[in-house]
């Protein structure tokens, strides 16, 4: 019967009741990035934490300088620097417990080093002697991930699996501003929120995806605002304020650990160096912008606070720098040795057992190597 036919009987009916699935207001990020250093809140920061962060930042800066130098000496194929972003790298590592997992992007070797990984192992991928230089399960650091944002769903799946097993494990996944445009970013955040997985997503918004500025990447009010669409809280933090980043990430990790589900943290920072040693940043940005960020340097910010409060003196600063120099000297010494390579390793771990086809190819390479050696004598 049409409405015309049932005239008199039909009453316009409202749709079945609708309400938002969750209240969006508490999920919204603050109006401005959260800061501690340079504000009154700094006075309440734990002195031990400040000293620890400072030592790690100084070490991180030295690590960046050393790795960049190694590219110039031909000892690293490529190095994407985190100079200026050390606060994010270091805080991401320090907020995690032993059993937690870190999911770094290709730029985040410093976070892996700050978590305790040997810098030589962290740089294996970039030296080019193998793809992953460490056992991910031993260190609970996923392989450095080059395809952007593709490691984010891994973090969600791992955290979900741990929760299903009843284990106390949080996964912290790192991505850049460019990576937030990838589909995997969207799918990872959506799965994490639906499953209430214990994951923290840290976006380091360093201003550029190689050469492309954020304005060409997104029209969102901020990257942290994207969290609201997934039903998870978004937090904005000054990414050069190590104390603030540490506090925001520690809160998010605690929230995840207590069963509160995922959080998206956007840290506002700046990539002081070019994308890698192979990039020319003068083609897409001006020096005055770089200088403005150099003035908001994470190490200077923290050193100022420590000095003002009398928590560090010249000897303390020297000790931090000496420790960093020692690390750099060891790294240099290791990287100046040629890695020992066995071409037969190419076939070792393609499958648990090589296929008959790979066995044939393995034999072929072995014969080629033997011929090479014979020719050499």
């Amino acid at each position: 019967m049409t409405v015309m036919e049932q005239r008199g009987a039909y009453r316009p009916t409202p749709p079945p009741a609708w309400q938002p699935r969750t209240d969006p207001a508490p999920l919204l990020p603050d109006a401005a990035p959260y800061r501690v250093l340079g504000t009154e809140a700094a006075a309440h920061a734990d002195p031990e934490l400040l000293r620890r962060l400072y030592a790690e930042l100084v070490r991180g800066r030295r690590y960046n300088a050393q790795a960049t130098a190694l590219t110039k000496q031909g000892r690293l194929a490529v190095y994407p620097s985190t100079t200026g972003q050390e606060a994010c790298e270091v805080a991401a590592a320090l907020v995690l417990q032993e059993q937690d997992w870190l999911f770094p992007s290709y730029r985040d070797t410093l976070a892996a080093v700050a978590r305790g990984l040997d810098p030589v192992q962290a740089l294996t991928l970039l030296r080019g002697d193998w793809h992953t230089g460490y056992d991910p399960r031993e260190h609970r650091i996923a392989p450095l991930c080059t395809p952007l944002a593709t490691q984010l769903p891994h973090a969600v799946g791992l955290a979900h699996a741990a929760r299903l097993k009843g284990d106390d494990v949080v996964a912290l996944a790192m991505v850049g501003d460019g990576g937030t445009s990838e589909g995997d970013f969207h799918e990872a955040l959506n799965f994490a929120a639906v499953w209430q997985a214990p994951v923290v997503f840290l976006v380091q918004n360093n201003g550029f995806a190689i050469s492309v500025p954020l304005a060409k990447q997104t029209a969102a009010p901020s990257l942290a605002h994207k969290a609201v669409g997934y039903g998870m809280p978004g937090r904005l933090v000054d990414g050069n304020d190590a104390v603030a980043v540490h506090e925001v990430l520690a809160d998010a990790v605690r929230h995840a650990r207590e069963g509160g589900g995922p959080t998206l943290v956007e840290a506002i920072t700046y990539r002081i160096e070019a994308h890698t040693n192979a990039d020319d940043a003068t083609r897409y940005r001006v020096d005055t912008e770089v200088e403005a960020w150099r003035a908001h340097d994470p190490i200077a910010l923290l050193e100022h606070e420590l000095t003002e409060r009398g928590l560090i003196d010249e000897d303390g600063i020297k000790a931090a720098r000496d420790a960093a120099d020692t690390m750099a000297a060891e790294l240099r010494a290791h990287m100046n040795q040629d890695p020992v390579l066995d071409p037969m390793d190419l076939f070792a771990d393609v499958y648990a057992d090589p296929t008959p086809q790979l066995r044939e190819q393995e034999a072929q390479l072995r014969a080629e190597l033997a011929a090479e050696q014979e020719g050499g004598h």
């Binding site: 793809h131 395809p147 593709t150 984010l152 799946g157 799918e187 959506n190 639906v194 393609v350 008959p356």
Partner: protein
């Protein structure tokens, strides 16, 4: 001695049984995908699993294939053994980046430290009257990716045995289910399921002496029918069911071709860049002096999968196979 009554069962039922037995035997086996929980999957292959094992073990995921496979990677990193369902062949493409950049190479890039025991079930192939994007033969893409095993059953018994083997494998397996055979029946005793077949072994389904039809998955019944029809022409055709495209069983295939001296590869996938080219090359390289004729391919055309009302013209059928058999240079023998 008791006699076991063999009952007819469908391939879909045998697959369900394999999933159920794997989940019962190993608590780390988790099934995940779109509609696999409450509904039991659009082909009902996961029917009853959520009810029996709970939704944490058989999970309806958000509708996002890259997310499904990407989270499965993380679950496998933590020691679980995910069995992922891609709803249809052409819906699996969004997951390609995860498959190629991570699933296939995680063992290799971590020097064996982190293998990923993930089974990716993909209903594939045509012949069910499906509309666009529901009938692709995507096996060549998977075969071209090192680090994956690519397996496809063609019989009820194999679907059980190969799926158990795939789930038990410590390597990722792309498990291609010929969807038009889901409802094919065979006598099969679910109380004494067939043993778990090792992955990588082809099998001679029909012995013959005139020529070898090399095939797999949905084309096996077509080849068997063609072999029966060929008898009236005086040809006694051998039919080899590959079962596994990676690894490839050169031994069984080449032993057959050396016996018969002639070979045809039959599949639904397009011929250009399809599995048949690789197989023909392998056979030629290994059996050249035994061959009486070039190895021919009987394949789908090199076109996007056609609309359902035209698909019968695309799929290799008995006539196309017999026509190709006729071109295997028999005159030389007379």
């Amino acid at each position: 001695m008791t006699t076991v009554a063999l009952k007819p069962a469908t391939m879909a039922q045998a697959l369900t049984r394999a999933l159920r037995d794997a989940m019962a035997a190993d608590p780390t086996v988790h099934v995940m995908g779109e509609d696999v929980g409450t509904l039991g999957g659009v082909f009902r292959v996961t029917d009853g699993l959520a009810k029996e094992f709970g939704e944490d073990r058989c999970t309806d995921t958000p509708l996002a294939e890259a997310g499904i496979l990407g989270t499965a990677v993380g679950m496998a990193m933590y020691g679980l053994r995910p069995v992922v369902e891609m709803q249809f062949d052409a819906f699996a493409y969004p997951a390609f980046e995860q498959l190629i950049s991570h699933v296939s190479r995680m063992r290799n890039r971590t020097r064996g430290a982190m293998p990923l025991p993930i089974t990716i079930r993909v209903p594939y192939g045509g012949g069910i009257g499906g509309v666009e994007h529901h009938s692709d033969s995507s096996e060549a893409y998977y075969m071209a990716t090192p680090g994956l095993h690519v397996v496809t059953p063609a019989t009820v018994a194999d679907s059980y045995g190969l799926l158990r083997a795939a789930i038990a494998s410590d390597d990722p397996v792309v498990f291609l289910e010929p969807k038009r055979l889901y409802w094919s029946k065979d006598t099969w005793n679910p109380d004494e399921p067939s043993p778990v077949e090792p992955i990588g072994r082809a099998v001679v389904r029909r012995p013959g002496s005139s020529a070898t039809l090399i095939t797999y998955g949905p084309s096996l019944p077509v080849c068997l029918e063609a072999a029966e029809a060929a008898r009236s022409e005086g040809w006694d055709l051998e039919v080899v069911d590959l079962r596994s495209l990676v690894p490839f069983d050169d031994e069984t295939v080449c032993a057959s071709v050396r016996r018969t001296g002639r070979a045809l590869v039959v599949h639904e996938s397009g011929g250009y860049g399809g599995p048949g080219g690789e197989i023909a090359a392998r056979v030629t390289e290994r059996c050249f002096h035994h061959l009486e004729a070039p190895v021919l391919r009987v394949a789908g055309f090199d076109i996007p999968y056609p609309p359902p009302m035209l698909e019968r013209h695309h799929l290799p059928g008995v006539d196309r196979i017999l026509d190709a058999v006729g071109r295997l240079q028999w005159e030389a023998e007379n």
